[in-house]
């Protein structure tokens, strides 16, 4: 999944769990933004890959 110029490998990101994903990657990408913005963007990206129950993930939407 490509999101705001970063490619996320869904299968590996989902394994991490949302909290760990946001914590680790917030120190790596979009460093020109504030920490809070980075965390929110990463949370949004994670939700697109592994949506809360009742919603479809971004990759499944692409395939459909």
């Amino acid at each position: 999944m490509n999101f705001e110029g970063v490619t996320f490998v869904e299968s590996e990101c989902v394994k991490m769990g949302k909290a760990k994903f946001v914590k680790e990657l917030s120190a790596v990408h979009w460093l020109d933004r504030t920490l809070d913005e980075r965390k929110q963007m990463l949370a949004d990206a994670y939700d697109m890959m592994s949506p809360p129950k009742g919603k479809t993930s971004a990759s499944k939407e692409e395939k459909e």
Binding site: E12, F21, H29
Partner: protein
């Protein structure tokens, strides 16, 4: 009833093609696994894909040749007692081609693969592929060894040079089963040898793609496409992005993996050609 033999093998036939081939200079060789048959429906795309295939199916071109020298492959003719001369055998044959430049990475690889079993096709300036007839297929000439001869530094009168030699398994067979096919596409443009590269860390989460021999930086050439298609071309990563300003990849490794490039076949599917990890 006992088996009956005939003399078909020794029957002389002096006919020639009604359209003799204009033999052009050999531009390169294609090294293949034993038994590989040149595809009758080869296209530029299929040949390029075959250059990136997983081993042992991968075809490996060596080019560009600028000189050819043949050693041996002559009939050994000797008299038997007080009788006339007879041919006892065709001597061992070695073909040697001079490359246009000295390539240390190619020389290293040729040296490592010296005594592996291979077959080899040649191709010329007119896109004709030469090999050995096998039924209705074209196969490569079986070779017992291929090896480089290296002059790694210039002399006062000559540049650094590299030659590659192919020792034929059966010189007589190479004459009697010699055959060729004409391609309708540019073989030199379609064939590509794979350059060995590595993904090296240059800092925390920062990576570059460099050639294993000599360290040439290929990040600006491949960084963008590797980052965009990270899912299809990288192992052991959770995310990737590329900065054209710093010419670096930013990669986060997965917990159970070390970032690395996938196979050449997978890279080729993603549009990345000519490299292998």
């Amino acid at each position: 009833m006992r088996s009956i033999r005939n003399c078909k093998r020794g029957e002389l036939n002096t006919g020639k093609s009604k359209c003799p081939l204009d033999f052009a200079n050999i531009l390169g060789a294609v090294v293949v696994k034993p038994g590989y048959e040149w595809p009758s429906d080869a296209t530029a795309e299929s040949i390029r894909e075959a250059c990136h295939a997983d081993r042992p199916e991968r075809i490996m071109p060596i080019m560009t040749f600028v000189e050819y020298a043949k050693d041996g492959g002559e009939p050994n003719v000797n008299s038997v007692g007080y009788g006339g001369k007879q041919v006892t055998n065709i001597g061992a044959r070695t073909d040697t081609f001079t490359l246009d430049k000295f390539y240390p990475d190619l020389a290293a690889s040729l040296s490592k693969g010296m005594n592996m079993p291979y077959e080899v096709f040649y191709f010329d300036e007119n896109n004709v592929v030469y090999g050995r007839r096998s039924g209705d297929k074209l196969r490569g000439f079986p070779i017992t060894t291929l090896y480089p001869t290296v002059t790694p530094h210039p002399t006062s009168g000559n540049p650094a040079t590299l030659t590659v030699s192919f020792a034929f398994e059966n010189a007589r067979d190479a004459i009697e089963e010699f055959d060729f096919v004409e391609s309708d596409f540019n073989l030199k443009d379609s064939l590509v040898g794979l350059t060995a590269v590595e993904l090296v860390s240059t800092g925390t989460n920062k990576y570059k793609i460099i050639e294993k021999v000599g360290g040439y930086d290929l990040t600006s050439k491949f960084g963008s496409i590797i980052a965009e298609d990270a899912t299809d071309v990288l192992n052991g990563v959770t995310s990737a992005t590329y900065s054209s300003a710093t010419e670096e990849l930013t990669i986060t490794a997965s917990s159970d993996g070390t970032p690395s490039l996938k196979t050449p076949a997978e890279l080729f599917e993603a549009g990345i050609e000519g490299i292998m990890a």
